[in-house]
């Protein structure tokens, strides 16, 4: 199975939300990283065929996805950035409805729904109205919904936004349990989520692919460019004008700052082992957090 995105462009008026993107996705987990407005959501909508490209085309094993239509959607699991539900439906009723839309028979739906409610930890509230669910619970319903048809192509738009740490761990576990021959594309602007999940990372900036590589290769590209230094307030304020800043930690003797720089930024700076977050800071610039 090969999902090919060929010179795809999407414009909204003057704005090029996706600008000449070409990608080839085979089975594996891909992290789509980019700041807000980079075009992640737009690219995903194009991939799930709810937006038509202004130029270029998207094919699955050589056949245009619009041509495949229902056959393509049958393989698809999509979790939109803003997942909506019917407030007066119970969790179970909602999922059974989506299951029917995905072509599951009544009996298949029954067992699949209860299996997935268990997987996302919502079995106890299966018959409760969705109107009373928290944001995190609704996201979990959203995740369960995408998995109903056991999709081979899974497109998740910021699935971890609004989840608490426990829910994040659960989400990671769910993804790692999804075995085998699937294409999983996850967008996020929260990098730490991707570190352990994504085999490959796609960096998207201003609608264009900046880089696409295996996670460890990407991390290697910033090796020797990540520094750590303990700074006073005044030093920090002048440094942050000059360099991209990663994580900042308050300490008793000042601030421990992660600085991303091609050259040694300060006398006292020590080179340290990069992580994925540093890749993000390196390519998209950092702000003190």
């Amino acid at each position: 199975m090969k999902l090919t995105i060929q010179n795809v462009m999407k414009t909204f008026g003057e704005k090029r939300a996706v600008n000449d993107v070409s990608l080839e996705l085979i089975s594996g987990v891909y992290g789509l990283l980019g700041p807000n407005g980079a075009g992640k959501t737009t690219l995903m909508k194009l991939i799930v065929d709810i937006l038509t490209p202004s130029a270029g085309r998207i094919t699955l094993d050589g056949v245009d996805i619009t041509e495949l239509g229902a056959a393509y959607r049958d393989k698809l699991g999509y979790m939109p950035q803003e997942i909506g539900v019917y407030k007066n439906f119970s969790a179970k009723k909602f999922l059974k409805y989506i299951a029917a839309l995905k072509g599951l028979s009544g009996r298949e739906a029954e067992s699949k729904v209860s299996e997935l409610l268990g997987l996302v930890g919502l079995k106890d509230v299966a018959n409760k109205r969705l109107g009373g669910f928290s944001g995190g619970m609704l996201r979990r319903i959203g995740i369960a919904q995408t998995l109903l048809n056991d999709p081979q192509i899974l497109i998740l738009d910021e699935p971890t936004a609004g989840l608490d740490p426990q829910e994040r761990i659960r989400f990671r576990n769910i993804l790692s349990e999804l075995s085998g021959n699937r294409i999983v594309l996850i967008s996020t602007h929260i990098v730490t989520d991707m570190e352990f999940i994504a085999g490959q990372i796609i960096l998207l900036k201003d609608g264009a692919v900046l880089r696409m590589d295996h996670t460890e290769n990407l991390i290697r590209t910033v090796e020797g460019k990540v520094w750590s230094a303990v700074l006073t307030h005044e030093q920090f304020n002048s440094i942050k004008q000059l360099y991209s800043i990663g994580n900042v930690m308050q300490r008793s003797d000042g601030m421990e700052v992660r600085i991303i720089s091609d050259k040694k930024p300060l006398e006292q700076a020590k080179p340290i082992q990069p992580i994925l977050e540093d890749v993000y800071t390196y390519y998209f610039g950092g702000t003190a957090k």
Binding site: T52, A70, P80, G84, L101
Partner: protein, 406 residues
């Protein structure tokens, strides 16, 4: 299409609480209004027990002649000799009873029996005059060589229909109120209001709820959802029509009495000039079919609008304006004799006139359709079916290719 999806789509429509509140309010209001008439002396002191005697009296040539000589204005005393003594006894039993302590009840059955018989003759003669007029008008046109005029075609057709239509009977069976159920505006308007309220959000709510991306990316989320929503919407509108028609039938029947004898449509008060050889029952059933068709048409229209709108208000407003505007027009504009004109067309082709076909069938009404005279009622049906067809076509094409921009 799949039964589970249709069921859920139907549930989405009927799980809106305000729909039920409106239905309950309307039903209560309707019943309340009508039960006011229950105490009405015309209802209370029915002529039904002496139906046969009155019919016999009315059939008398002699009484007919008296009637015509007096210009259809005769009194109970003129009729009395033609009635049996038991019938007179029945009519006169109320002579010393007072209704609400004021009106002597006796006058009511007496005037009613007089009215019925007078009206019977008057209508027979009116219809005969109309037929006579048509004949002379046609002869006139023939003389002037206007055989190819559209009016000639219309009148020829109308005369043919009249000649085949049968005869006026004495109207004693209480069909008038049943036939008027839709002519009064309440039942058609409320049916439509509930349908429009129920279906305005059928697609746009998916946008509002942010559920449409999930629907549109599911295997059956396009064709499947289109046909399921259509099926659920039509089912809902059928149930609305049947509910309000049953309510009206039950309330009207309880107040005015149910009739078990059918009668020719032209025998009813408003229909003396109808060219259609229908019975009252047939008219009533056609009107229910018309209501179902109108409901289907308006459902298709609002479903289509909903598929193109981002909230339920706009489709509700647009479809409501279309129905309401043509309804008000239908109740306002004076319909021309025989042939529809551009001013009367919006009224004569309106969905309301499909729900309430009285104005279209109570006299001869025609439309010039490419030179041939088509009874307006058929033109209305064709026009409305075209609206439904176009709406569904646009809806299908719009939804099948729908994009989610924001």
């Amino acid at each position: 299409m799949n039964a589970d999806i249709i069921r859920t789509e139907f549930y989405k429509i009927v799980s809106k609480k305000y729909i039920w509140i409106f239905v309950i309010l309307f039903s209560a209001f309707y019943a309340f209004i009508f039960f006011q008439f229950r105490d009405n002396p015309g209802v209370k002191y029915s002529l039904r027990p002496i139906r046969n005697e009155i019919q016999q009296a009315a059939a008398s040539e002699e009484l007919g002649n008296i009637m015509r000589s007096k210009g259809y204005k005769i009194s109970y005393e003129d009729i009395k000799p033609f009635l049996s003594s038991s019938a007179c006894e029945y009519i006169e039993q109320y002579r010393r009873v007072y209704y609400h302590d004021e009106i002597p009840v006796a006058s009511l059955p007496e005037s009613k029996v007089t009215d019925k018989i007078c009206n019977f003759y008057e209508r027979i003669d009116d219809r005969q005059n109309e037929i006579q007029n048509l004949r002379s008008s046609l002869a006139e046109m023939k003389k002037k060589g206007k055989l190819s005029s559209f009016l000639y075609a219309v009148q020829t057709k109308l005369l043919g229909m009249y000649e085949k239509a049968g005869e006026i009977e004495l109207n004693l069976d209480g069909w008038d109120e049943i036939a008027d159920i839709n002519y009064a505006w309440m039942i058609p308007a409320w049916t439509m209001l509930i349908i429009l309220l129920g279906l305005a959000g059928i697609y746009s709510d998916e946008y509002t709820n942010k559920t449409q991306s999930v629907l549109l990316t599911a295997k059956n989320g396009r064709q499947g959802v289109f046909f399921s929503k259509l099926a659920a919407g039509i089912l809902f509108s059928i149930l609305c029509v049947l509910y309000f028609q049953s309510l009206a039938f039950a309330v009207t029947g309880i107040v005015y009495g149910f009739s078990n004898a059918d009668i020719s449509l032209m025998s009813l008060y408003g229909f003396k000039l109808t060219p259609f050889a229908w019975s009252a029952l047939k008219f009533y059933l056609f009107q229910i079919l018309g209501s179902l068709l109108a409901a289907f048409v308006m459902s298709s229209l609002i479903i289509c609008l909903s598929a193109y709108c981002k909230n339920a208000l706009l489709p509700f407003f647009l479809a409501g304006t279309y129905w309401g505007g043509t309804f008000v027009w239908a109740k306002t504009v004076a319909l021309p004799q025989y042939v529809a004109n551009p001013l009367s067309l919006p009224a004569e082709l309106s969905p309301f006139m499909l729900q309430s076909i009285t104005d279209l069938v109570s006299t001869g009404r025609f439309i010039n359709l490419f030179g041939s005279a088509v009874p307006t009622i058929y033109a209305n049906i064709i026009f409305n079916l075209i609206i439904a067809f176009i709406s569904l076509l646009f809806c299908y094409h719009g939804y099948i290719r729908k994009q989610v921009k924001d």
